[in-house]
Amino acid sequence: MKVFLAALVFAAIVAVGTSIVLSAIQMPSYVAFSTSGARVGDPGDNLVGSDWTTTII
């Protein structure tokens, strides 16, 4: 059981570590794939906002 739990913890550490490293060395897609003139600001998590299911009237 200890070995199993150790493997789970190690997997989580490697996964989180990888995400931190990749986030540090990679550009966000809205920066990588557009020029600065085309951007109006940080689009956040997605381009439609958190209430993306709300009907726009």
């Binding site: 070995v3 199993f4 150790a6 493997a7 789970l8 190690f10 997997a11 490697v14 996964a15 989180v16 990888t18 995400s19 990588a32 794939f33 557009s34 020029t35 085309a38 993306w52 299911t53």
Partner: protein, 336 residues
């Protein structure tokens, strides 16, 4: 002055001559754009595999210049219609096969009963590597199946918001747990390759159906029998294909263009379905299907009688090295 006049006449004659011959050609070039323009469907049908209609752009992403790539329709059709069939047949089919096998054959018991004497089958580091790879694989498989089937099977049950949140986290888990999975795969290959080279003994094991089809038959095997070697190579080859194709999906356009990307997504999806089906069989035989098998990866120690029945040559080798108990302890008899 007369000279200038003659030059003017000559020039006028030349222009007249030009118009005389050029007019029929101009008449041929005149067309009605709306009437004679290429129809879109004809254009798309004329494009062959790998062809694209591209424009000119000024943004950094040069791939955005591709306006139409007809091969994308085949790729989309594969994901929407063929992949669910492949996945369904492989995974549901494997569940059905295992259920039938359990009903017909029943659980594979230790013929001579548990001896009560243990032998070390897998050391801590081996079990750590196994569970590292296995736990990542389970999350990768479930999150991957959500990508393929979630929209059809889960979205109607939980609603758009819950499905969106779940799929977002599943996607993060899929992306980043891929790395400890790949690490586990490499370590697994290094520590177990020496015991997984196929040999003549494996043919004998296969001819006898591994001894799992009938009670009391146990073909000799060293540390890993032919079935376990098969699982090892499925994991190594399948895992490598999943890793390479997954790497191309994590870092888009690393291999080449969009056509190559589509090829690797198909490889990723098909291998994933077959991989999951194979691992279902592995999980079954390592838990429900065979008595005493789970201990090998649970505590690392298996019963000596179990080891003698399924890995007789390995037990003999371990005993010769003095790393295993030599005899079989008397079987405990319950008091009447």
């Amino acid at each position: 002055m007369p000279s200038s006049l003659s030059k003017l006449r000559a020039l006028s004659a030349a222009i007249l001559l030009l118009f005389t011959f050029a007019l029929p050609a101009a008449a041929q070039l005149s067309f009605k754009p709306t009437a004679e323009a290429v129809q879109e469907d004809k254009l798309l049908n004329a494009l062959k595999e790998g062809d694209k209609i591209s424009g000119r752009i000024s943004i950094p992403d040069t791939n955005a210049a591709n306006l139409i790539q007809p091969a994308g329709r085949d790729w989309r059709d594969f994901h929407r219609s063929k992949l669910p069939i492949i996945g369904g047949v492989a995974i549901i089919g494997m569940f059905a096969l295992l259920a039938i096998f359990l009903m017909v054959r029943g659980r594979i018991r230790v013929d001579h009963g548990f001896s009560g004497t243990k032998i070390l089958r897998f050391a801590s580091f081996e079990r750590f590597t196994h569970w590292l790879t296995a736990s990542c694989f389970v999350v990768l498989a479930l999150s991957g199946l959500n990508i393929s089937f979630g929209r059809t099977l889960i979205l109607p049950l939980v609603g758009a918001n819950a499905f969106s949140a779940m799929s977002t986290w599943a996607k993060y888990a899929h992306d980043f747990l891929a790395f400890p999975f790949m690490l586990g795969l490499i370590v697994m290959f290094l520590i177990w390759i020496k015991d997984n080279i196929p040999g003549k003994l494996d043919l004998q094991w296969i001819k006898q159906g591994g001894g799992i089809l009938a009670n009391g038959q146990h073909p000799p095997a060293r540390r890993f029998n032919a079935g376990q070697k098969g699982i090892f190579w499925i994991v190594i080859i399948g895992g490598t294909l999943m890793s390479v194709s997954g790497w191309f999906l994590l870092f888009p356009y690393l291999p080449a263009n969009v056509t190559t990307m589509q090829f690797w997504t198909v490889i990723h999806a098909v291998i994933a379905m077959l991989f999951i089906a194979a691992m279902l069989a592995h999980i079954y035989i390592g838990s429900v299907g065979m008595e005493g098998a789970f201990d090998a990866m649970g505590t690392g120690e298996v019963d000596l009688n179990w080891a003698k029945e399924h890995h007789s040559l390995w037990v003999a080798e371990e005993q010769a090295k003095g790393q295993a108990p030599s005899g079989t302890a008397p079987r405990a008899v319950p008091a009447e």
